[in-house]
Amino acid sequence: MTDITRRNFLGSLGLISAGTLITGCGEQADAKQKSKQDEAAMPADLKWDKAPCRYCGTGCGVEVGVDPQGKVRAVRGDEKNPVNRGLLCAKGYHLPGLLYGADRLTKPQLRQRDGSLKNISWDEAYDLIARKYKEAIAQHGVESVGIYGSGQWTVYDGYAATKWFRGGLKSNNVEPNARLCMASAVMGFMTQFGSDEPMGCYEDFEAGDDFILWGNNMAEMHPVLYSRILESRRRRPSVRIVDIATRRTPTSDLADVYVEIRPGSDLALANGILHLILKKGKVDASFVAENVAFMRGVEDLAEIGYGAFGDQAEHYGFKDKGRPSSLEELKTFLDDYTPEKVAAITGVPVQQIELLGDMYGDPQKGTVSLWCMGVNQHVRGTWMNNLITDLHLITGKICKPGSNPFSLTGQPSACGTAREVGTLCNRLPADMLVNVPEHRAKAEEIWGLEPGTIPEKPGFHTVDMFRALVRGDLKVMWVQTTNPWVSMPNLNRWKRNFDDGRFVIVSDIYPTPSTEAADLVLPSAAWIEREGIFGNTERRTQHWNKMIDPPGEAQEDAWQIVQVAKRMGMGHLFPWPENDWHRPMYEEYRRFTLGNGKDLASYEQLKQERGMLWPVVDGKETRYRYAAGFDPYVKKKSGAHFYKAKKTEEKAAFWLRPYHPPAESPDAEYPFWLCTGRVLEHWHTGSMTRRTPQLHQAAPAAYVELNSVDAAEMGIGNGGRVKVSSRRGEVVLEAKIDGRGRPPRGTVFIPFFDENRLVNRLTLDAMCCISKEPDFKKCAVRIERA
């Protein structure tokens, strides 16, 4: 740019009013904001305390500034927290907004015959819930009641729920929305290591050389972690980032290589990389001989299905059956995955497949694979988790700083609560399962219950739980810290009518489509309005203190559960003083974790530290699990020891997994692929972030991203109204062309944060055959001008 150009241009600008160039909304928003500054506090008046961010699974540390009147006035990135080292993202910086929406729920409300909600007292609410649970169990058995929470349940909430349900009601119908989010990763780690959660930690971002992202828009979904990788590359230009994705995103814009892949064909690509590793002799033979056991499961597509068609549309109970396999069998198996064959399935050029083979196969380079919803929300999500980890096992690139398969989570305590406390329908705390007698016995012992109290049969997984609710097999359901009437797939299937004889309780902090579907709405305390513990993606357990009072009569979720349990004669489950129950509840929970490689830090240490990576032994955290020199459970001098993998003689299981096509693919009637997901500004269903003005103003409504050529062919312009329909429903939204996300031809993307434009009316409730996690990323739709 030259000064001459500038001056010439300025000269010609004299007649133009500068004001016309600024956005009108900028000035209007400025004016609105001004009135809110008048009574603001000064910095020196604030009291600061630490907390993990309320939003995603990254677990950034923030410090929260509270004024003398007990109002939050500011947050700042916590420079002492090793997760984010002071940096936050737009959501993190705007955390206070989630607390102060004018429509916070402040009183329990009961649905009336005319459909309206009427305030009732907590006593009335608790008595009513207790009565509804008792009646349903008496008339229809323990399988007729359920509780559905989330990865936003604190450790306390999830622990109260699982103990009440399994130990009190004797029902395993406890589920978290983490089933929609992380279940495939859980089953990936469980089938391979006999223990959930990654071996690496965020220090991998500074130690690694090659970062391979599998269907993972980190720049928007884990922005602070992507910043760490970008910073790593800035300091070490040899660092490479490969983005394997079904559309271009802000992540692709900053990657070294963008690998565009057809939806669902990642299974073939991973097998193609394995094929090249074997063909080029890049197998780490000594690591494999010492640490890897080959396994093979059921592969017959007709037997497995997708959980959405025929009988499986009501109940999906497919169980995999493993048998030992071998490296020789793997070689034969991979004959089907030559680069040419894989290119034909995936649409990825042979050169790129070979590049990936070389990257994974290079023993000199530390390789970190990263994935989140693209791999997990997948009809073969567990298989895909297995395959990514297989790439690391076969090359020995695991349990080393800078070389690990690293599954990222979406929710702040998907790991800490859903996975570690074990609020999935088949799990108990610390990797234990309800269908293993010794595990039930251990839980009964810690909980002081009669042997045989905890039922053996797993409860409903999430999709089957909602199917049972619609069918009438589930009579009472309590929903906490989640918004399923926005986030469930195939939403039109779960529409409620209040005369259906079910009783749905929803605890939340704001009115949502889920509270609109509830018979009883309970006001919950949010985030720092109560004491809490979250566990993040890298096994870091983080504690925070209660800093302010919740509004009105709002109560924390765990407290609500305990009150109902007491009214049902189950007070013995929660024998702690009502003014001091957090510490003893945590200490009881911690007993599950000690001595088995899941050891959590003491309560005192958690209060002090910016989180601790488990296992914490003798007060010291573990950065790399299963790794000699890092993990105190590993007694070897060097290398790795998968001491939790009891089913495969303490070796990690390498699973042979084939390519299967998606459940529904485009055809003449519905010719486009639909992918759904998140955006930087909004967190999941948007009930908190949309109430934060700055976040809403940046992303006020959901839209449909179209390929520019497709759009031109259909005569659709940027901002034009578009009707998107599938076999299950339709939604009308604005088109976005060449925005932050650019889908390839034949593909569209719609974010799911907008309760006024529900993309999940279109999605299909097909699931991963092992984890039962729905596939929100692939179904067929039609696009029309609206």
């Binding site: 909304c25 000064m42 206070p96 910043s227 704001y510 103003q697």
Partner: protein, 182 residues
């Protein structure tokens, strides 16, 4: 429209929205300072929050105007430099919009009652009259002191008298707050 002209339109827009008229005199100066503080506050959820982007999307890299020096065009205005030091911490100029948001609407989804922290415009505290004032804000992501305390973007109240001395934190210490977590 060319890229260059878009840049200039951006600058003009900035000038129009951020700078009230200055006629001279103490009262006017105070009024200007107050108005600037209000404009600044209106673009942040609280003091310390990343400001939203007050102008249209000109499809330029942010650093083209908001680099380490900022850009001035005579008679039009000044786009302030970034206070972030790309050589320290985790800042990466390529991801500005990870924290700085567009305003695509003035509407709220639902009313929000949050009242943010106000900027403390008083002079930083000193041990005694000749001691250097402490830094009353977080230095992280504000490593480039000159962005706000020197040059065109510096308001008189916080303008540095000795910008030629480059090691600011040698004398000015960061005061996080009167109370901090241990």
């Amino acid at each position: 429209m060319t890229r260059f002209s878009i840049l200039l339109l951006a600058l003009l827009a900035l000038a129009a929205c951020g700078r009230p008229a200055i006629e001279g005199g103490a009262d006017e100066e105070r009024a200007e300072a107050k108005s600037a503080a209000e404009t600044r506050a209106a673009r942040r959820a609280y003091d310390g929050a990343p400001p939203v982007i007050p102008h249209l999307d000109f499809n330029l890299d942010c650093v083209e105007c908001h680099g380490s020096q900022g850009v001035e065009v005579a008679g039009v205005g000044f786009s302030p430099p970034s206070p972030h030091d790309a050589t320290s911490g985790l800042s990466d100029q390529a991801r500005c919009r990870q924290c700085h948001l567009w305003r695509n609407t003035a509407e709220e989804f639902r009313e929000n009652l949050f009242v943010g922290l106000r900027q403390d415009l008083r002079h930083g505290r000193r041990l005694h009259g000749l001691a250097p004032p402490v830094i009353p804000h977080q230095v992280f992501m504000r490593e480039n002191c000159h962005a706000c305390h020197d040059g065109k973007a510096a308001r008189e109240a916080i303008r540095c008298s000795h910008p030629e001395r480059l090691r600011c934190t040698q004398c000015h210490l960061e005061q996080r707050s009167t109370t901090t977590f241990p």
